[in-house]
């Protein structure tokens, strides 16, 4: 039995997770502590890197203490440490990586610098068990929009496509601002959309015949929403916020799920995972479920708590790395804000 400590600090959540890898290869989540600085960013309408980094420094050791209390474990029980070494915000990553290195040195255990994006995929295995090989993962959050082919969670992930401009969650934040809804934009737009109807047709970015099949673009959609709202304002008509939200959300859900299902079919995979903060969105889940069912694809979406950034997903990925016998990182490990997704551990 192996206890793995996972530390995450790539954006605005300080996460500490503990997982247990048993002899049969099963992975169990023992603790999942998250301290979020999201409220400190609200008035700026987006994550402020320096504010996030300061919050990580304040929250890290207290989150560690809470995680070990929750799990009923002592630090000396830890057999390996995994830490998000990228991608993410430079100053934020540095806090988690520096802490993880100090814990690894003090506890004399192996350290794994791990990929945040692979962590999002690994989170699903905590809830739904091992992944079939190969499978497809769609990661959607404020920071990422990626379509991945996963052949082995510990050793082989390939990017099929990603956003060429805004992340899906970023588009939600920007449209929320256009509609005078609060930050972060995901939950209020989802709530408004459920009251409205998708009666306005907004453009689906990068869906032309000559566009990259698996890349995404949300910048044009955001501008189209702004233009539509401004025209209505100029005409002196009240803005039907619920309908605009529903129409925007429909455009996002349509493009994401259509491209993901097409990729799954082209790659010949029968299982799709959707993870990341935006995976909690009701319409994206609903449309993905419909389209996956029609295409005979099994859809796996972890519960919202596991979809957002947390230490549990890194503790899970760490368990997969240990299980696969991957070589640990050296103590001079450094964080890499631009770590490519195919580098699962460094």
């Amino acid at each position: 039995m192996t206890i793995i400590l996972g530390i995450e600090s790539s954006c605005d959540e300080t996460g500490v997770g503990l997982s247990r890898l048993d002899a049969a290869g099963g992975i169990t989540l023992l603790a999942d502590e998250v301290a979020s600085s999201v409220e400190q960013h609200a008035r700026f309408g987006g994550v402020v890197p320096e504010v996030a980094s300061r919050a990580h420094l304040e929250s890290l050791v207290p989150a560690m203490r809470r995680a070990f209390d929750t799990a009923g474990l002592r630090l000396s029980d830890v057999d390996a440490i995994a830490v998000t070494s990228g991608p993410g915000l430079a100053g934020a990553l540095l806090v988690g990586v520096s802490a993880a290195k100090a814990y690894a040195l003090a506890l004399d255990v192996p350290l794994y610098g791990a990929n945040h994006l692979a962590g999002h995929v690994a989170a699903d295995t905590l809830e739904h068990g091992p992944l079939p090989s190969p499978c497809l993962a769609l990661l959607v959050s404020g920071g990422h929009t990626q379509l991945l082919r996963v052949d082995d969670l510990a050793t082989s992930i390939t990017e099929l496509g990603s956003t060429i401009d805004d992340a899906a969650g970023e588009a939600y934040d920007k449209v929320a601002r256009i509609l005078d809804l609060p930050y972060p934009g995901g939950p209020p737009i989802d709530a408004a959309a459920r009251r409205g109807s998708p009666s306005i047709h907004f453009p689906r970015g990068l869906t032309g015949p000559r566009d990259a099949a698996y890349d995404f673009s949300f910048s044009g959609l955001k501008t189209a929403v702004a233009r539509w709202v401004e025209n209505e304002e100029r005409a002196g008509r009240p803005i039907p916020v619920d309908d605009v939200a529903a129409s925007f959300q429909e455009a996002v859900a349509d493009v994401l799920t259509a491209k993901a299902v097409r990729a799954a079919e082209a790659e010949g995979v029968d299982t799709m995972i959707i993870s990341g903060g935006v995976a909690a969105n009701s319409r994206i889940k609903e449309l993905a479920r419909e389209r996956c069912a029609a295409a005979g694809i099994t859809l796996r979406v972890p519960k919202p708590r596991l979809c957002t950034d947390n230490g549990a997903m890194i503790a899970a990925l760490g368990a997969h790395l240990v299980k696969a016998g991957v070589a640990p990182s050296a103590l001079d490990l450094s964080s890499n804000p631009g770590l490519p997704v195919d580098v699962i551990s460094v």
């Binding site: 300061r54 050791v61 964080s335």
Partner: protein
């Protein structure tokens, strides 16, 4: 008492193992120092490991830690503080915070002293010390020219730290805190034992962040 000292408030990545006797000055057993403003996160833990090995000690031998808490440019500063906090937590040892400028001043006690370090953006972090080494002003952040105008009023005769302006003072001491300086600055707290102070970073500046103004229109008004 065996003390592990770390500081990342300047471009120097500093870790040292220091023996603090019951009376008298701290003695350096081993240190590892690299000057690279971008390497704090990468090198600090290896420096701790290597300094301990060079001193013939292990982390289990460490009785207490001392950590420079700035002022210092933000990103690197946090690497040192979180490393010290994590080591203190894992080893269950107290971590004593020291103003990093005090760590420089402690190695140059004598006549009244000004300590300056690079705050970037054409400003310096500074503090002033009396002949007995007590801090009498600062830490603050100022443009070198504005600080130079205050030199007479501060009554200092010497300057330590970086070459960051013309203050008309005699240069002395180190440009970055040394392990011995850090331990000397924390000596009374270390000897008193008990609970260490909060490891609160001395940022001295607010985060650069502006609240968004009115939304920009995408169509002509």
């Amino acid at each position: 008492m065996l003390v592990l000292a770390v500081d990342t408030a300047t471009p120097s990545v500093t870790a040292g193992v220091v023996e603090l006797p019951e009376d008298g000055a701290p003695v350096l057993l081993a240190e590892r120092v690299t000057v690279d403003a971008k390497a704090h996160g990468e090198l600090l833990s290896p420096h701790v490991r290597d300094a301990l090995a060079a001193a013939g000690k292990t982390l289990a031998d460490v009785d207490a830690l001392v950590c420079g808490v700035g002022p210092g440019p933000f990103t690197g500063l946090r690497a040192g503080i979180v490393t010290a906090a994590a080591l203190g937590h894992a080893l269950d040892r107290p971590v004593h915070p020291v103003c990093s400028l005090d760590g420089i001043a402690a190695q140059a006690v004598g006549e009244p002293l000004l300590v300056v370090t690079d705050a970037r953006r054409r400003e310096v972090y500074w503090a002033a010390y009396a002949a007995d080494g007590a801090r009498v002003a600062g830490p603050e952040v100022l443009a070198p020219a504005a600080l130079a105008e205050r030199v007479a009023e501060l009554g200092v005769t010497r300057v330590a730290g970086g070459e960051l302006g013309d203050f008309g003072l005699v240069r002395v001491g180190a440009w970055a805190p040394t392990p011995v300086g850090l331990v000397a600055a924390a000596a009374s707290a270390l000897r008193a034992g008990g609970v260490a102070g909060e490891l609160t970073p001395l940022y001295l500046r607010r985060p650069d962040a502006v609240e968004p103004g009115a939304r920009k229109r995408v169509t002509p008004a």
